[in-house]
Every structure is written in C-alpha cells, then in structure tokens.
C-alpha cells in the first residue's frame, strides 16, 4: 500500500507550504468529514451486498471485541511501566 503513504506525504508537504493560508485550511476540515462520510457509506454498501458477511457479523463482532480488549489491556500495562519509569519521578 505504498500509494497510501505517497498520497499522504504529498498532502503533508502541501499542507506545510500553505499553512499560513487560513482561508484554504478552514475548508479542509469539512471536506475531510464529507469524504469520511462518503467512504463509510460505501464500505457499508460493500458489506451489505455480501450476505455471508452480514450473517457472520456476530462472529466478526466477537473477534473485534476480543482484539479490542487485548489492545486496551496491553496498552494499559505498557503505560503503567511508562508511568513508573518516566512519569512518577516528576510528581515527587
């Protein structure tokens, strides 16, 4: 997915060049929201079209929940060590 990275890097570069042009920058945020709405609408359609995905939505949901619990517990444990090693000394 190299295209993804290239397209975004071009955007970052352009954004940095035009960072003082407030009028243009202000228009980016709503456009960004509209493109997210459009894409999730399209993803919804592509999932809705595949009946086998709809019927296995409970399995997918359970897998998603387990992965999320793993992600949250993992990141919380890591943040605990980060707190002990780097943050606690500042509180004393």
């Amino acid at each position: 997915m190299v295209e993804v990275l290239i397209v975004m890097l071009i955007g970052i570069l352009l954004g940095y060049i035009i960072r003082e042009k407030e009028r243009i920058i202000k228009k980016v945020e709503p456009l960004l929201n509209y493109s997210i709405y459009l894409l999730l609408f399209l993803i919804g359609i592509s999932i809705g079209l595949r009946e086998e995905l709809i019927s296995s939505l409970d399995t997918i949901g359970l897998q998603a929940l387990l992965l999320t619990v793993g992600a949250i517990i993992g990141s919380c444990i890591a943040s605990y060590f980060c707190y002990i090693w780097f943050f606690r000394k500042n509180e004393r």
Partner: protein, 201 residues
C-alpha cells in the same frame, strides 16, 4: 461523540442500502472508493502538515512525552498478537493491522477494507469503535487497575479529542496535555502504521 454517531449513521445507512439490493450500479464500482480513499488521505495529510500546534508540541517535547506513544503502541501490538493466537481465522499480521487503528476507526478501516477486503475492514471498524466506547465507559476502572496513564493509553489516537474528557476526569487536569500529545502523535502515525503493517505481512 456526535461526530462518531454521524459516521456510524452513514455506515449503517450504506449497510442497509447494500443489503436491500436497491444499490445503484455506480455505487458498487470499486474504483469509486479507491479514489475517495486517496482524496481522504490527501486531505488528512494537508490538515497534519498545516497544523501549527503539532509543530509546537514537537518543539517543546520532553523525553517522557516522546516515549509514551511508543509504549502505548507496543502494548497494543503485544495485546492483539496474544489474542490472535486464540483466534483460528485471524493471523498475527491481520490482528496487528486492526490494532494499528488505535481507535482511529474511520481512516484505519477504510485502508484495511481497500487492501484486505470487506471482512477484515468490518472487523477493523468494529474493533476501533469499541476501543473508543470501552475507553469512555471503563476509564474510571482502568485508572485504578493500571495507573494515571491508563485512560489515555486505552483511548489511543482518540485521547486527543473524543476521549479527552475521560483523561481529565480520571487522571487529573495535569494529564490533559499529555493526552493531547499522545493522541496527536498516534493519530498522525495511524495511516502510516496501517499501510506499513499491510505491506510487510
């Protein structure tokens, strides 16, 4: 939270339209979503590049602030990898791609949907929405179990906006800046991480 509801609304509307069988043919065209994805990433790039506060944060950064997002990232990766060992039809690479979303469900699920298909895309969308919801519901518990950085670690990329209030309530005002920094760094990293993980696995 209102923004999230609108996004979920569009997703559900699409789901119902697709399932109803009344979808106009031009909306089924795969190229449409590919071009829309490029436009989205281009716009994300512009907003990141033009964001002056992001530049300021980077200038004033201290070591402990800088290491935190990487701890959160590594913790997430270890967590999802362990879970994937118990899920027969999800590979470690797929679980890492889903975990790379860090709660930034719109962008991460769109990229994964494009590269890996609808099944993993739907999984990524659900998982990353759940990360936001669980953070909103369970931060008071997480802070007791895992300490003051837990709410913003759990929130991942969302700790700078939609779950920021949980950090403020559960960890204290002094952690708001930490949450904004960590959330901003992770938000910027998400598209790169997802793309990178999909590329190497």
């Amino acid at each position: 939270m209102k923004g999230s509801l609108i996004i979920v609304g569009f997703f559900v509307a699409g789901l119902l339209l697709g399932y109803s069988g009344a979808t106009p043919a031009f909306l089924e065209n795969k190229d449409l979503s590919t071009y829309a994805l490029y436009i989205l990433l281009f716009l994300v790039g512009i907003s990141v590049g033009a964001d002056k506060s992001a530049l300021n944060v980077i200038r004033n950064v201290k070591l402990e602030l800088l290491v935190l997002p990487f701890f959160i990232l590594i913790g997430t990766y270890v967590g999802v990898s362990i879970v994937s060992l118990f899920l027969s039809d999800i590979s470690i690479g797929e679980s890492l791609a889903v975990g790379s979303g860090m709660g930034y469900y719109s962008v991460s699920s769109i990229i994964i949907n494009e590269v890996k298909g609808e099944r993993l895309g739907a999984l990524a969308l659900l998982s990353n929405i759940m990360r936001e919801i669980i953070t909103l519901l369970f931060s008071p518990l997480l802070v007791i179990l895992f300490g003051k950085l837990a709410p913003l670690a759990s929130g991942g990329a969302t700790s700078m906006d939609s779950t920021l209030s949980m950090t403020k309530q559960c960890s204290g005002k002094e952690y708001v800046v930490v949450a904004i920094f960590s959330g901003t760094v992770l938000t910027i990293l998400v598209p790169f991480l997802v793309g990178f993980i999909l590329e190497i696995f």
